[in-house]
Amino acid sequence: MNKIREKKQLSETVFLMRVEAPLIARERKAGQFIILQLCEDFGERIPLTIADADPAAGTITLIFQAVGKTTKKLALMNAGEKIAALVGPLGTPTHIENFGTVVCVGGGIGVAPLHPIAQAMKAAGNKVIIIMGARNRELLILENEMRAIADELIICTDDGSVGRKCLVTEPLKELCEQDPKPDLAVAIGPPVMMKFCAETTRPYSVPTQVSLNTIMVDGTGMCGGCRVTVGDETKFVCVDGPEFDGHLVDFDNMINRLSSYKKQEAHSCKIGLEGDSQ
């Protein structure tokens, strides 16, 4: 049981929670995630990135978008209530070193998992350029936090309500065309966005890391449900990842696998909205 210490609503569908988890707060590194469950008998296990941690206070920060059954139920919980099960830190931490110039690209909720990585890249001495994208001003999260880290911050929205009116791939391409070009790109967001970021950097041979958000069950390498094709190999996102070389990931297959339970989820979402499941 892990107590929620603090809850904040960041946008219409995005929430921040600070949760008690002293051992995880102490061990976690940038790029790692947890799996949580709201009921140990019938609840589903969902992965969320550790967006931040405070080892002294014994808390970790989760930032999530209410998209389906479990995240919507979680969004209804409040400070003081307890999450039934929370396990981690899972996954292989991000490889952090001084690469030189690192472009961090975050789309939508992807800005949350990007934050600890940008922070660690900065701490390792990199020049950090951050590109943040969202559909509109309302949906933009962690702007201040990212501004505090970035040597340069570029904001893009689909409707131009703040920053440039374009997709994140546009400034990314401009940066790749500069001389010297960036030494590394890190892209986290919806799979389609990551796919196009990887396509953007490919002609310039800028190494591009992506963080994959496949469907998971155990998160320890036991089930293979999270597997993706990377190059010619099958990899398990929960233990081999979540980060991979974006130029090698078969995004189309991954996007397909994410839709495995569309039918069942559409049904359970409605149940959630009728509010009979709390």
Partner: protein, 494 residues
């Protein structure tokens, strides 16, 4: 074969007992018919998760016990990996003393209700049984496992299970990683000596494969839970949602958290795939994932569970072991109209328990022997819509002594499907190995341990599937007992 109801089987046993005299000659004993296990009607059980085998009636148990010849040499004992005094406990059942029977079993086995259900008896204790030999069929051997289950269930149902006596506190602390049969056994044996015991489990529920892999219809979860409850009643501490190697590392437990010794029983939880085309399509599962979704996450209970599972119409299960049978029979229960089990050798070579194969056939699983998939086919959206297979024939024996299957060129054919479940085995999970410098493993990634279960690092022991490779519940338990004995001795001397 027509299905006989439990009542019919119980009545038959009563009639048999009426005909038997007080003193039986060996010939008369062997004339007593082997008692069939009462089961749920196949037509009914196809659509429920309840246990299939219902257990002997008291009369059946007595009739079966009377079949035992009480052989002086007792070859059956040598067939049991933990050496239970089989004639001893069977005699007690014949004498009507169930309490004595279960006490005899418990000298050597801590999980009789589980092993009585899932042991591959036909290759272990029942294989060398004299009765089976004389009657020229292992199927006619004394049904030792069923009798073991009978007394274990009798003890539980009559609430006679006692918490073992615990010796005074020693102040020493032992950590046990993994709560499968190996870990649970070690916990009980070490706690009894008065040591402090903490169990760590990665999942939210303890029990290992007994809970996430083996389905309810073969091993009810309540039976495993009772073993866990006994451990907590003994004062063992249980930490679920705790991944060793991630939440804490082995070295931290020893150096910082004050553990005097550790036992690693993390099982063989890394699914193998076949590396054929189409294996990552939507609709392809590992058996581990399929079974975990259904069992542990209870996806079969569609009304209540949040975890989804495919609504499959036509399923292929690839493999021929217990895992494959469990996956196939689960698919039947989840509503699949056709379930094909595809195995590249013949039924004789199939490693699954005979009883499981028999039950799967009764439930309508379609067996394809000497066939093997070449690639998995999909529609234009990347969803499975079929499988292409090759026919095989048996050639010369290979290293394992089994005749090697050889593909028949040009024999390709297709089956229409929407789901494929890969059940070709498990390797060991690398997490502990990768995070514990100095821990020796072999080329398959299994932890190397000596005959006492001691690993290459002092104070760290290991046992069960993580040492043996994917094996059995009884072997995991047996290894656990050996390791616990060595650990208790080591702890007494520090």
């Amino acid at each position: 074969m027509t299905h006989l109801s439990p009542e019919q089987l119980a009545q038959a046993a009563i009639r048999t007992l009426e005909k038997t005299s007080e003193t039986l000659t060996p010939k008369e004993r062997m004339a007593i018919p082997a008692q069939e296990m009462p089961t749920q009607d196949p037509a009914e059980r196809r659509s429920n998760m309840n246990e299939v085998a219902l257990g002997y009636s008291p009369e059946q148990a007595r009739a079966e016990a009377l079949r035992c010849l009480q052989c002086k040499t007792a070859p059956c004992i040598a067939g049991c990996p933990v050496g239970i005094d089989i004639p001893g406990f069977i005699q007690a059942i014949a004498d009507g003393d169930n309490k004595k029977a279960i006490d005899i079993i418990k000298i050597d086995s801590l999980l009789p209700a589980v092993c009585g259900r899932v042991c591959p008896q036909e290759t272990q204790c029942q294989a060398p049984c004299t009765v089976g030999k004389v009657l020229k069929s292992v199927d006619k051997a004394v049904n030792i496992g069923r009798l073991e289950r009978y007394v274990a269930d009798w003890e539980r149902e009559n609430r006679l299970i006692e918490i073992p006596a615990i010796k005074p506190d020693t102040g020493k602390k032992v950590g046990i990683i993994g709560t499968g049969p190996a870990g649970l056994t070690v916990a009980a044996d070490i706690r009894r000596e008065g040591h402090d015991v903490t169990l760590f489990e990665a999942f939210h529920k303890p029990g290992g494969v007994m809970v996430y892999g083996i389905p309810e219809f073969r091993l009810p979860k309540a039976i495993v839970q009772q073993e866990i409850d006994a451990l907590t009643a003994m004062g063992c501490e249980l930490k679920t949602n705790f991944v060793i190697g991630r939440t804490r590392k082995i070295q931290d437990l020893l150096d910082e958290d004050g553990f005097d010794a550790l036992f690693i029983g993390t099982g063989a939880g890394l699914p193998r795939f076949m590396n054929i085309e189409g294996e990552n399509l939507v609709g392809v599962y590992s058996a581990n994932e399929y079974l975990t979704r259904s069992n542990l996450m209870r996806a079969y209970d569609k009304q209540r569970a949040d975890t989804p599972i495919f609504d499959s119409e036509k399923v292929a299960v690839l493999g021929g072991g217990n895992v494959a049978m469990d996956a196939a029979r689960t698919a039947v229960r989840l509503g699949a109209k056709e379930v094909h089990l595809i195995y590249r050798r013949t039924e004789v070579e199939m490693p699954a328990r005979v009883e499981e194969v028999h039950h799967a056939k009764e439930e309508g699983v379609i067996f394809h022997m000497l066939e093997n998939p070449k690639r998995i086919l999909s529609d234009e959206k990347g969803w499975v819509n079929g499988i292409e297979c090759l026919r095989y024939e048996l050639g010369e024996p290979d290293d394992s002594g089994r005749r090697r299957p050889i593909a028949i060129e040009g024999s390709e054919f297709e089956i229409d499907l929407d789901t494929v479940i890969v059940a070709i085995g498990n390797d060991s999970n690398p997490l502990i190995r990768q995070t514990t410098p100095g821990l020796e493993t072999n080329k398959w990634g299994n932890i190397v341990a000596d005959e006492n279960g001691k690993s290459s690092i002092d104070r760290i022991y290991a046992g069960g599937d993580i040492v043996l490779g994917a094996a059995t519940v009884i072997l995991a338990m047996g290894e656990g007992r050996k390791a616990a004995a060595a650990m208790n001795e080591m702890l007494a001397n520090i």
